[in-house]
Symmetry: C2
Subunit: 242 residues, 2 copies
DNA sequence: GCGTGAAGGATTGTTCAACAATCCGTCAAT
DNA sequence: ATTGACGGATTGTTGAACAATCCTTCACGC
């Protein structure tokens, strides 16, 4: 192992060091509680109450709110406070519109990169995260761990977007999926929703492994269309009830 | 005009009402100075100095910094302060990677929407902003207003991305172009750079108007490849000098 | 000369307290 | 039922204070 390897490894741990910010840690705590559904959409987050509960000052808490606001998990209404975001049906449609562009675009860019390199199919290490997510989902389903099935499904699509090998696409997809979690917790049975699409994930993986990226892209598109339709219907019904 | 029309119009003015925040206005001021090149990349923004100059407290200024940090115009280094972002060559490549996905994706989504509606070509009002940006650029070039040529070019690509009719894509493209402005100000002659591509913009517009969206998408892709190559070369040279 | 380490100043991180501005619910009046 | 005024509660913003950290300088020893 050379010196530059050492340094390169250390670079990877730099983000952990920067985590010392109090506001960042507060944001982490709130983010988890939101994405895991303990804080329902529409809930108002009182500066005083939460500040007292977490033992941080209002100013620091405000910085945490800003962080989550830009991730679209919170909305900030002037002179009224911050609320856990409540997504409209139009928001859900838009999220899937962006997913179509991002996920299909990632596969398409990968295809063009392979074409210019005269490679027949993606290398195994590129697809490793995708395959891992597929198996993670299947084994979770076998054990009946439905929550884990949901996160595995998210990991799968995150891995697909990561095929673009673009830090900005990765981050955008990360935020996008966090937003989508807001929707899932309003539904009745998000478990069944995710389990439905496990076979499709494997089919997409196999198309990617076979190097038929055009078919994979098209499979993702139809997957997203179906998921959007099902989700919009279920969400509209849930929203109508309250 | 019915009552609901009135109300719908008013909804569009809601964002203007929320603009009363001091931190938001401070962020606006700083954003302009950064994107217009008055604050060079790498510059450190002292909390005390800027707070005194703008007449706001450190806490408020911090909120403004946080806002711009999430737009990637500023970088925040713990215990060291905030700096105007200095983009690496890899950042430039990534920005163009995302542009390819977003702009081409927007056209592609538009094509699929037209196909499902059995429409031969996009409606005129959809392409109006694109056409306006093209003419804006050409008339600015005729008058030698090179700065205006640059903004017109940005408007063109923003308009292309807006074809996706997705609020999130619009916002992402907005932030992306703001980031790119950081690069242009480091170059020697950004004017000539933008002027080169005026004819291409018109060609893309005509392909869109003709309804040949596949050709338009491919034209955008080659445009972006060329622009990226030229920009990366110029930027690397400028970065090497200092 | 050169790398090491300590002292000092400057800047940021965080908290606290205070006041102004704004919103929300209540209640009375028309 | 709508309007208008009042009062409590919450947020917006400020200023000051202290701890933690970084950067510079300078002296020291090899």
């Amino acid at each position: 192992m050379t010196t530059t390897d050492w340094l390169e490894e250390l670079r990877g741990e730099r983000p952990d060091l920067g985590r010392a910010s109090t506001a960042g840690r507060v944001a982490d705590v709130l983010r988890t509680r939101i994405t895991e559904g303990h804080l329902r959409p529409g809930t108002r987050l009182s500066e005083e109450d939460i500040g007292a509960a977490l033992g941080v000052s209002r100013n620091t808490l405000r910085e945490a709110f800003r962080l989550l606001g830009h991730e679209r998990l919170l909305v900030h209404e002037f002179n009224r406070g911050v609320f856990v975001r409540r997504l409209t049906v139009d928001d859900v449609r838009d999220l899937y519109q962006v997913r179509r562009i991002l996920e299909c675009g990632a596969v398409r860019r990968l295809a063009e990169r392979l074409a210019s390199a005269a490679a027949p199919s993606p290398t195994a290490d590129l697809l490793a995260p995708v395959g891992a997510a597929v198996e993670e989902g299947e084994s979770a389903a076998a054990q009946g761990a439905w929550v884990a099935v949901g996160t595995a499904n998210m990991n799968f699509h995150q891995a697909v977007a990561d095929l673009a090998q673009s830090p900005r696409v990765t981050e955008a997809m990360d935020h996008l999926l966090a937003e989508l979690r807001l929707v899932f917790h309003v539904m009745d049975a998000p478990q069944a929703f995710h389990a439905t699409y496990l076979p499709e994930n494997r089919a997409i993986l196999e198309l990617l492994e076979a190097g038929d990226l055009a078919a994979a892209e098209s499979a993702i598109a139809t997957y997203l269309d179906a998921a959007e339709a099902q989700l919009v219907e279920a969400y509209a019904a849930a929203a109508a009830r309250g």
